[in-house]
């Protein structure tokens, strides 16, 4: 385009658009100022620091839309009023304003901006330039992890943002646990609030196609999160999906990747020989002789002590099998991912359509995850000042198939086989109720989840009132889940089938008014929000037990002899239906003075149906200040500093109560059957005490941060310090069971969290053909309980701890108060009463020759002391290598996990197999670490092995090659890259077992709890993955 044609073209376009849209009149008034003022022709050149030209820079007359674009040499020419100001902007450079002052030639030098500061970040109910942000907001570097086999966006977050704590999931497609900064709640929700395209998201992150995500921003401090009020105390994660752009040529993008996965450690059950050998330890009093049981007893025949199912009929020979159950239940996991998207836009419409396909087959057979995802993001501009749009996605997840129980694979005896000689599965190989893990191959398991999301919005730049925008979001989440199951082995081999259907719906209706105005050196953005959310859940569970035939599988539940519909033996409220509603108002003022001084102030009011009767609404205020020091005159000559901002914020955010928590709940059950042949008599039971004064938790926090770019833009970084106090903690306070209840939901005490976060990126090498950039993140948090109930019942002048809840004033929430272990009781040791040979020796603190509750002590904490990550990206010509280390460290006594194992000989354990790496004590292994108790009596107090989980992990490595433009031109492609990447390639840790970081859900004492993934019999492998893939864009 010719330079002189620039303005003309723009004006023509403006007029034609105005005519079409019926705003000709407006445009005429608007543009007449330009047309009829005294114009002069201005020529010039735009260069950067090193005087090299900046092609493509935009030059616009301030206050108008007239302007031009610089050519390849950085030159421009336009017609502008003699007294006007030109605004020059270019990607990666700080915007500059230059007064024309009647000059015909203007040369402009732009300063390179740190990219991250030039970014626009999502701050909730709007966006803001990163340089103007006063709170603690971090953007996730999605590019860094782009080649990793992450089927769940939660995995992208692992270790990438200081202050964001993300774990590791061992399930196909699984969402890892995610939390932000320190734990500021005990019993309340610990989940970060997730917002997708402005709408609160309560579904599973596994439903989202990571390839559809354009950015993820994390709000960490109270001054940022408080705009989400009572739900925001655990931080906010804002996810923005990709969209088309106006006047963008059609773009077709295709990605494909194939991944294989295998365990990171070589943990396995014992083989036949090892299995038979360990019987000698389990029966050492028979297998060995002498007082120290180390002389083998030649008369000992292992067959005599084994289960009858594992020996011949005369019990003299062990069955000859050597079956590897583990090997038969696992195989190399695979992930196939394909995504395709189309995007683009014209004058009036933008579009992005995408489809994704993930087919993951986990390492455990039948741990499967298939996801089909579709997305349509459309926006139309019917009028120049009015945009309407749709952000929508559908996700169809298929997790059919029941995986064999890992615990049962692990404990299965290698002397037994799963199939009989005719190939039929043996349902209960040990003739007990422990099922054959491979029974699951012969059950019907239909496990589907459908997620639908649609946000319809209208975005109006109100005519006549410059700077006023009114936006409406109407976001809808709808989810349906089906889990259907039929097994002929269940129900005591009588057959069992069930159907479980769930539906969930929510809507968010937000009215957002924004007013942006700049006058003089004052820059104001005011935002007001009025919104409401309603959520509804419903579930039906129907089960049949006892089928004469199961030909019709779960579709014939009616023919069962016993039928259960919506049973609720555990009296869980809201198990089958619940609903809740929120309404809220929020006001925010962003004020900037002289492009140097920043102020943000917000106030939010929340009403929530789940709040208790006497506290139905809550108010959350914040204020934050920022100072861009580098813009001050006195910094003009400090060349080492390119950018420097100091900011401080104070805010209050909340953690809301769970629905129904404050009510006295009366649940129903099938109680009794009077008489012979009678029917069910239904009953009711009071499940909880009412608390009409139950309140949300309130976190008040200050955050001080500094953002900087130094050394000619080579070093960028930020430092954060925060200090949070959380009051009115939601807690189920333990009360005497003489009340009939074990606890009451209440607000107690105060928790203090303070922490430090640092993120630094340094361009180590920044040459034309070779770049090396390195990012180091570090974060630490200390947690301390300040007060609890405020009661000093024992009259010692100090407030009492809640010992029965494991909470202690002055300690971290995750402190460990337990018995200290001191090795294993050897054969001839003097033992305290209640402790058999081979059990854990517990330190008798009070030296009264008895282990009692008084012998517990503080052993450490479960949370890490600090976390670190280190990301490197090296590019040489077309080749990019990146690697990422992640680490959680416990310091002296932090990050401890329960890795308790005990061999207790009893009827069931003598049949069970074991993991190869568990070092059990026995007389011939006196240094063994874990107790082996063959006395038949339980130890008085078994003791817990608390072990360090600290680790350093080489989490991601990627090597990619981008095709050169020559090749691309030939095949008319825009960009092509191919890559190979690895995940979890190496982990350095002292932790024994599957993985130091992963948690696995295990069933203990009638409930499911998360345990560290150690030497558990039902632990799950963490997986090492190798991926090859390609990205192609046309």
């Amino acid at each position: 385009m010719k330079k002189s044609a620039c303005l003309k073209t723009m004006m023509q376009r403006l007029v034609s658009q105005s005519m079409k849209s019926g705003t000709l009149f407006l445009s005429l008034i608007f543009s007449s100022a330009v047309l009829f003022a005294q114009n002069i022709t201005v020529r010039g050149k735009v260069v950067k620091d090193d005087d090299q030209p900046v092609p493509g820079a935009s030059v616009v007359v301030k206050g108008t839309t007239s302007g031009t674009i610089c050519n390849e040499a950085g030159e421009f020419q336009l017609s502008a009023p003699a007294k006007s100001i030109l605004v020059i902007t270019a990607t990666d450079y700080a915007a500059k304003e230059v007064p024309v002052n009647n000059q015909n030639t203007l040369n402009v030098k732009l300063t390179t901006l740190d990219r991250s500061l030039g970014e626009v970040v999502v701050v909730g109910y709007g966006t803001q330039k990163k340089i103007d942000v006063t709170g603690s907001v971090s953007r996730v570097n999605l590019e860094a992890m782009g080649n990793a086999p992450n089927t769940n966006i939660g995995q992208f977050l692992q270790g990438t943002v200081p202050g964001l704590n993300v774990g590791l999931s061992t399930f196909a497609g699984g969402t890892p646990p995610i939390s932000i900064r320190g734990q500021n709640t005990i019993n309340g929700s610990q989940n970060a609030l997730i917002i997708i395209d402005g709408v609160q998201y309560t579904g599973s992150l596994s439903s989202i196609n990571p390839d559809d995500i354009s950015s993820i921003d994390v709000l960490k401090d109270a001054s940022s999160t408080a705009i989400y009020g009572a739900q925001a105390a655990n931080g906010v994660i804002l996810i923005t999906s990709k969209k088309g752009r106006y006047n963008q040529k059609p773009r077709i993008s295709f990605s494909t990747a194939y991944t294989t996965q295998n365990p990171t450690v070589d943990l396995r059950p014992l083989n036949r020989q090892e299995y038979l050998e360990q019987f000698k330890d389990a029966f050492y009093t028979q297998a060995f002789m002498g007082t120290d049981y180390t002389q083998p007893n030649p008369a000992f025949n292992v067959a005599s002590v084994m289960d009858p199912t594992m020996v011949n009929s005369t019990r003299t020979e062990v069955l000859p099998n050597d079956f590897d159950w583990w090997d038969a239940g696992v195989k190399t996991g695979t992930i196939l991912e394909n995504t395709l998207s189309f995007s683009g836009g014209g004058d009036r419409v933008t579009y992005l359509l995408s489809g994704g396909l993930v087919d993951q087959k986990g390492y455990i057979i039948n741990d499967k995850f298939k996801r089909k995802s579709i997305r349509a993001n459309l926006e139309a501009k019917p009028l120049n000042w009015w945009k309407v749009g749709l952000v929508s996605s559908g996700s169809f997840v298929n997790q059919d198939g029941a995986e064999p129980s890992i615990g049962n694979l692990t404990i299965a005896s290698p002397v037994l086989v799963p199939f009989d000689s005719t190939g039929n599965v043996i349902p209960f190989p040990t003739n007990t109720v422990v099922p054959n893990p491979f029974n699951t191959y012969y059950v019907d398991d239909y496990d589907r989840h459908q997620y639908y999301f649609a946000n319809i919005y209208s975005d109006l730049d109100i005519p006549f009132i410059k700077g006023l925008n009114y936006r409406i979001n109407f976001g809808n989440n709808f989810r349906t889940d089906q889990h259907y199951f039929a097994s002929r082995f269940d129900g005591g081999l009588q057959g069992r089938a069930y159907k479980e259907n769930q539906t969930y719906y929510d809507y968010t209706f937000d009215n957002i008014v924004t007013y942006t105005r700049k006058f003089g050196r004052h820059d104001i953005t005011a935002t007001g929000v009025y919104g409401a959310i309603e959520r509804k859940f419903s579930r039906t569970f129907a089960e049949g037990i006892g089928f004469t035939r199961l030909n019709l599988s779960y579709n014939d539940i009616g023919s069962a002899t016993t039928k259960n519909i919506n049973p609720n033996p555990n009296n869980i409220p809201g198990l089958y239906a619940w609903e809740e509603a929120l309404d809220y108002q929020m006001g925010r003022l962003n004020y900037k003075f002289d492009d140097k001084y920043l102020l943000t102030a917000t106030v939010r009011r929340d009403g929530f149906s789940g709040f208790a009767q006497n506290y139905k609404s809550a108010v959350f205020p914040t204020v934050a200040l920022g100072w861009i020091i580098s813009s001050e005159k006195f910094m003009a000559n400090v060349n080492a500093v390119n950018f420097l901002k100091l900011r401080a914020g104070y805010g209050v955010s909340g953690n809301q109560t769970q629905r129904y928590q404050s009510l006295s709940r009366v649940t129903t059950n099938s109680s009794y059957v009077f008489g012979d042949g009678g029917g069910t008599a239904f009953g009711q039971q009071v499940g909880s005490l009412e608390n009409p004064n139950l309140k949300w938790e309130r976190t008040k926090g200050i955050n001080v941060g500094v953002d900087f770019t130094l050394l000619k833009n080579r070093l960028t970084g930020n430092l954060e310090y925060y200090n949070n106090n959380t009051n009115d903690l939601l807690f189920n306070v333990a009360i005497p069971s003489a009340t009939g209840f074990l606890e009451i939901a209440d607000n107690i005490g105060k928790i203090h969290n303070q922490g430090f976060e640092a993120g630094l990126t340094y361009k180590i090498i920044d040459k034309k053909n070779f770049t090396w950039s390195s990012t180091f993140n570090f974060w630490t948090n200390t947690n301390e309980i300040k007060t609890l109930t405020g009661v000093d019942a024992n009259g010692d002048g100090i407030e009492d701890d809640l010992v029965s809840s494991g909470l202690f004033i002055g300690k971290s929430i995750q402190t460990i108060f337990d018995y200290k272990l001191d090795g294993i009781y050897q054969l001839n040791d003097t033992r305290l009463p209640g402790f058999p040979i081979g059990s854990n020796r517990i330190v008798d603190l009070d030296k009264n020759n008895d282990i009692t509750a008084a012998d517990r002590m503080f052993l450490g904490r479960r949370e890490p002391a600090y976390q670190m990550s280190w990301y490197n990206s090296l590019t040489y010509k077309n080749i990019t290598l990146s690697f990422f280390f992640n680490s959680k460290q416990g310091g002296k006594d932090g990050y401890l996990g329960d890795n308790t194992r005990e061999y207790f000989r009893e009827d069931n354990s003598v049949r069970n197999n074991e993991l190869n790496e568990v070092d059990f004590w026995s007389p011939r292994n006196p240094g063994g670490k874990y107790p082996r108790n063959i006395s038949g009596g339980r130890t008085k107090i078994a003791g817990t092995n608390w072990e360090s989980r600290s680790f350093v992990r080489l989490q991601d490595v990627s090597l990619s090659y981008s095709f050169s433009s020559k090749i691309l031109e030939k095949i008319k492609a825009n960009a092509i890259s191919i890559y190979v990447s690895g995940k979890n390639l190496a982990t350095w840790t002292d932790w024994e077992g599957w993985d130091p970081e992963a948690l696995v859900p295990v069933f203990r004492n009638n409930r499911t709890i998360d345990m560290p993934d150690g030497l558990l019999l039902d632990g799950r492998p963490a997986l090492r993955a190798i991926t090859v893939g390609a990205h192609i864009t046309f």
Partner: protein
């Protein structure tokens, strides 16, 4: 912003009508059944383990009593909580009556029911722990400063509640449903609590009201579903499936805990395994693990089989030698309670592969080469996991629910068997006689005591005794003979303060570890810590 739950009730609207109160009462039956019968494999059996009649076979010798009966032991905690939950739900019923829409007569009826269950739970609490916190009204806000009432005060409360129940509960023939509590059940408990409180004359009066009621009588002739089968007798008939409720013609039952297979609320599934806890595991726990018995390395038994080998026993709950031999020594032959079909000591081999097929293997006279679990050589007359005498009360030979047969061979059971499927006597008239005998003895009337004991003995064909024979130990032995595996033995021994004496006398498995302090259990440590507003004193000897 009002919150209205949609899948449960709130206590504000759950106590209005008779249907509401009935639902709460139904739940009390459930809670009692769970605590004493069906909660899981272990808890209900704790009322038998560590007593003079039973021991937990797989456990170490000597028994680890200091570990099992300690403030931190989960055993104490579970029973304490379960019993107080019964108190709490009963209190809620009583406290909600005034504000309800119940008719006047219903108000009295539900109060009587509430008080009955409250008394039932406090009776157990006071026997096991002595004085405990006395909570007699619904708790609506947290309270953390309980102190212990004296045992006497608890007894007084129980007496008051039961007296109200005796007056206001319907008679045993007027209750509408089988298994419902009646004024006679209350009278029986009243007699027992009077005994505990040393009020012997009142105990006699209360027991007499039960015994003299025209609707009650010991069963003396064969009856019920299997009355024509042999071997068998009236004592055997008492424990067959379908014979416990009055509708089946049983006049001896005072309070029968209802068990119904495969109906929600019936607490007896044939479908899921014993591990689910949805059933009464007495068969599984009490019958020996006969599977493991070999003679010359050949299994003598096919297991599990629905015959006199005990169904699907796993051999945890073995009778003490005292129970097996000593208590029957005076009259081993005539006493039908000691007949082999009631107390199996001779097991007929049912394995065609064994040379002993169809012959009886006698616990007291084992063939050479008999081995048990883990190949251990067995000794005649010494209980082991694989082999000990068991009472057929715990099962119903040849009469398991149809779903439980696997078809592998005649009478073969599925691996998921192991529950006891017949209704259970919580109170039976024979026990009322023995309570009255205890009361007469306490009141100094040994002759009347002997008469009552002889009523029970003569029904079983056992020789009569004279007043010279009567002592508290004799009555305890008679209770074993009549109520073995049926009564909650721990409660009886602790009520009498006889736990330590009887353990030392009758059960060598525990004797060397026994200590008089175990006459009362320790208050759970967790309860002491939860009660942070006041000190809940621990029982003597524990810390």
């Amino acid at each position: 912003m009002d919150e209205t739950p949609i899948d449960f009730l709130s206590s504000k609207n759950a106590f209005q009508t008779a249907a509401d109160f009935n639902a709460s009462v139904n739940n009390l039956y459930r809670l009692v059944r769970a605590e004493f019968y069906t909660e899981n494999d272990n808890n209900p059996m704790e009322y038998q383990y560590r007593t003079d009649i039973a021991f937990y076979v797989p456990a170490a010798f000597p028994a680890n009593l200091s570990g099992e009966i300690s403030p931190t032991s989960g055993i104490m905690e579970r029973h304490w909580r379960a019993l107080y939950k019964i108190v709490s739900e009963a209190n809620t019923i009583i406290s909600r009556i005034p504000a309800s829409q119940l008719s006047e007569s219903d108000q009295t009826l539900f109060e009587a029911r509430g008080r009955f269950f409250r008394a039932f739970a406090y009776r157990a609490l006071a026997y096991i722990w002595g004085g405990v916190p006395l909570v007699t009204a619904e708790v609506t806000e947290p309270k953390v400063d309980y102190v212990r009432a004296s045992r006497k005060e608890v007894y007084t409360q129980v007496i008051e509640d039961l007296t109200f129940a005796v007056t206001n509960l319907p008679g045993i023939t007027t209750v509408k449903l089988d298994g419902e509590i009646s004024n006679l059940a209350a009278q029986h408990l009243l007699a027992e609590i009077y005994l505990a409180d040393g009020q012997f004359q009142n105990a006699i009066t209360a027991a007499t009201a039960v015994i003299d009621d025209p609707a009650t009588d010991l069963m003396k002739l064969r009856f019920g579903t299997r009355k024509n089968e042999n071997p068998g007798d009236v004592y055997w008939d008492l424990f067959r499936r379908g014979n416990q409720n009055r509708k089946g013609g049983n006049t001896e039952a005072i309070w029968v805990i209802q068990i119904e297979a495969d109906v929600p609320g019936g607490a007896a599934t044939t479908a899921t395994s014993f591990a689910s806890g949805d059933g009464f595991s007495l068969e599984r726990v009490h019958a020996p693990l006969i599977r493991d018995l070999t003679i010359n390395n050949i299994s003598a038994f096919r297991w599990p089989t629905s015959d006199y080998t005990g169904g699907r026993g796993v051999g945890f709950w073995a009778p003490s030698k005292w129970f097996i031999d000593s208590v029957y020594a005076s009259d081993p032959v005539n006493d039908i309670r000691n007949a082999n079909h009631n107390f199996v000591r001779k097991f007929k081999s049912n394995n065609p592969a064994s040379p002993y097929y169809n012959t009886e293997i006698d616990f007291h006279n084992l063939p050479a080469g008999t081995k048990g679990t883990s190949g251990a050589v067995l000794t005649s007359g010494v209980p082991s996991r694989a082999f000990y005498p068991y009472q057929t009360k715990c099962t119903d030979p040849g009469n398991h629910p149809a779903n439980l047969y696997s078809g592998a061979y005649p009478m073969a059971l599925k691996g998921g068997a192991g529950f006891t499927y017949q209704d259970q006597y919580l109170i039976r008239l024979a026990e009322t006689y023995l309570l009255r005998a205890e009361a007469y003895l306490g009141a100094g009337n040994a002759a009347a005591a002997a008469d009552d004991i002889n009523v029970v003995r003569s029904r079983s064909g056992a020789a009569s005794i004279t007043s010279a024979d009567v002592s508290i130990d004799y009555i305890l032995d008679e209770r074993i003979r009549e109520l073995g595996t049926e009564e909650k033995r721990l409660l009886t021994l602790m009520r009498l303060g006889k736990w330590y004496d009887r353990i030392v006398k009758c059960n060598p498995f525990y004797a060397s570890a026994a200590d008089p302090k175990y006459n009362l259990w320790p208050i759970p440590q967790s309860e002491i810590e939860r009660n942070r507003g006041a000190k809940l004193e621990q029982n003597t000897g524990y810390q």
